[in-house]
Amino acid sequence: MSGGVDSSVVAGLLQRRGQRIVGLTMQLWNQRRLPELVPEGGATGRCCSLDDVYDARHVAQHLGIPYYVVNFESGFEEQVVKPFIDDYLAGRTPIPCTLCNNFIKFDQFLDLASGVGASRIATGHYARIGFDDASGRYQMSRGADHSKDQTYFLFGLKQEQLARTDFPLGGYTKPQVRELARELGLPVAAKPDSQEICFVPNGDYAAFIDAYFRERGIAPEKTQGEIRDTNGRVLGEHTGVHHFTVGQRRGLRVAAGEPLYVIATEPASQRVIVGRDEDLLRAKLSAKDMNWISIAPGTVTAGAPIRAQVKIRNRHLAAEATVYPIGNNDATRIEIHFDEPQRAVTPGQAAVLYDGELVLGGGWIE
């Protein structure tokens, strides 16, 4: 229970169905840290803020269910925040929500829930889980509300995790969920949706990284470097590759006759390469650490490539592609050939494969 509308409605729905439930809120980040990032007047809508815990507790009281706040701060820092920073410094654009899902929420948190006697966990994600008798696999499909679909962040879930998880909102649209919240009389029915990365205020991840280093007393190695075009011409200077992500246009501060975009970041040389919009187009990509959900890992073989629609970032319209395995090891690495070249393939983001509504699996773009 985050204190938001979605997870509050989940609690209300399960209770209405007569399930015995326990409300849990994960304390992931100490909001007193990095105070320089908190805007004047205080932060709102950030994860683990006292206001959100207050709301979650209020909902639990309204429903009359046991409720606890559980501390995952150290796991979150080690397995989400640090890799998030490392990725940016290595020129990748990470997805902390997926790391949190893979290593905290559907791992340590799920274990804690089982440990205290819960047979399953339920969350407010917009996604659906089903069981396919023919293949004996749990399958995942997109939430009915495509504008809220969160399967892009859930591609890492394993069969044993899906077996113990419920997404009760998967069949609802957001307006329906708000209506349910009112119907259930929940005190958070009118609360605005949360946005962005929960531990990064105002979405300014570069300021977060800088502040984190200051707090740790670590001076990052030289981060400033050159901005070059695709022909190697030096166009300007920048203050660190972690300020840039592939496809970015704002914040380059170089003058050119046409709009320039980040094509790549090269952490080894601390170079940011910029170019024209069409320089961002790529016809193929490779992805590693594939997790296969709705089909068995052995389904994709060199002799039998599959067709899929592939999302390369959350707000990307899934693009038609053919998927080939790399090597011969249950397709843990794959190559994706798009029918039409795609803009801004970004290392560190995920490639998630769909067959219509079904989530086939996903991996990390190399």
Partner: protein, 386 residues
């Protein structure tokens, strides 16, 4: 579901005799103890009668007792009030790393205003070595503050010995007695302290009342400003009903102490022995003399937080670590200061017994702990049974 309460060091329920005194005072003594009319005089009489009784219980004179809103205020008044009254050129305070936040945080506040504070660490058994206090004392030391009984382990500190050392060095001696009063006999004269804090709700009085013993002649400035109540040491309309209730609770504790001590000690030992015999890789944190009702036990390979939740859902109230502002659990600073590995500190639970507990409840708790610990360890990535 029946609920069994094993968290009496956090707070205790108001007992029936105390409740009756409280309600009758609320009904029959409505006056302001500072008013000159008869309604006020009645309130003043009841307040001073309560003060006399409390003083007799603690072995001090009535005028040496200041009523406060509780233990936290008593600790703040003792530390900040005595430092402000005796400040320069004495710029040094000694306390310990295992104090309650009500002592640690006023000390941190003193550091922010330029004072030097030494935090003496305990040995691995939880005991403060008086020699460490002796070594920390300096000519400019003005206050030594060491708790009488620890809230998490129950360990009793050698207060009389430390008081003597502090006085030899010309420093004042404060002891936070919040976890001692009502559980063990307390005689402030025998302890030799200048300042001693107590809190009513730890011994079956209501929340919101406590007291600070201030030895005659000890200079103390108020830390809040208002009227001339409590000999100009603590302003605010006197909480007569709660003071009367606290006195009743203290008297009840004194009268039942020998019997209740033996009873709680036997129950605590039954709990400890039962758990240690049936849960592998568990053990007691701390050693030496303890309050009779407290034990702190580690369960290697699991999270104390999860064990608390699991037991709560089975109907047993116990505690682990300390709650941060959201309500999540942080590992105990007391256990960390004793040198426990962070994993073991997080895997530790405090059980504190009280009036409502009996052998049947203890046995039920042991069964629940055995079951919950096994369940949690089954899922623990770090636990492999020996």
């Amino acid at each position: 579901m029946r609920r069994f309460y094993f968290d009496h060091n956090a707070t205790t329920p108001v007992s029936q005799p105390v409740l009756e005194v409280l309600v009758s005072a609320l009904l029959e003594v409505p006056g302001n103890a500072s008013s000159i009319h008869q309604d006020g005089q009645l309130a003043k009489q009841r307040l001073e009668a309560a003060r006399r009784e409390m003083a007799a219980l603690l072995g001090c004179e009535p005028k040496e007792l200041v009523f406060t809103s509780g233990g936290t205020e008593a600790d703040n008044l003792a530390i900040l009030g005595s430092v402000q009254a005796n400040g320069s050129p004495h710029k040094h305070v000694i306390t310990t790393a295992i104090e309650h936040p009500a002592v640690l945080n006023p000390c941190r506040e003193l550091e922010r205003t330029g004072m030097d504070v030494t935090y003496v660490r305990p040995a691995s058994d939880g005991l403060i070595d008086p020699d460490d206090i002796r070594r920390a004392l300096k000519p400019e030391t003005m206050l030594v503050s060491v708790m009488h009984a620890n809230n998490e382990t129950g360990t009793l500190q050698p207060i009389a010995e430390i008081s003597a050392l502090a006085h030899e060095a010309g420093a004042l001696m404060h002891s936070d007695g919040v976890q001692a009063a009502g559980k063990i006999p307390v005689d402030v004269e025998a302890l030799g302290v200048d300042l001693y804090s107590i809190s009513g709700h730890k011994f079956y009085a209501p929340k919101g009342i406590g007291a600070l013993y201030v030895k005659n002649g000890t200079k103390l400035r108020p830390i809040q400003f208002g009227g001339k109540h409590e000999r100009e040491r603590r302003p605010g309309t006197e909480n007569v009903p709660s003071a009367v209730a606290m006195e009743k609770a203290a008297a009840f504790a004194r009268d039942t102490l020998p019997i209740e001590t033996a009873r709680l000690e036997a129950l605590r030992d039954r709990l400890e022995t039962g758990i240690l015999a049936r849960v592998p890789d568990s053990g007691v944190n701390g050693a030496g003399e303890r309050t009779p009702n407290t034990t702190n036990i580690y369960f290697d390979g699991l999270e104390g937080e999860a064990l608390v939740i699991s037991l709560d859902l089975k109907g047993f109230a116990v505690s682990s670590g300390s709650a941060c502002s959201s309500g999540a659990v942080e590992p105990s600073h007391v256990l960390l200061a004793m040198g426990l590995a962070p994993e073991r500190a997080r895997a530790s639970l405090r059980f504190s017994l009280g009036a409502s507990n009996n052998a049947e409840q203890v046995d039920a708790l042991i069964d629940a702990v055995v079951q919950s610990a096994a369940q949690l360890r089954k899922l623990s990535p770090t636990y492999t049974s020996a």
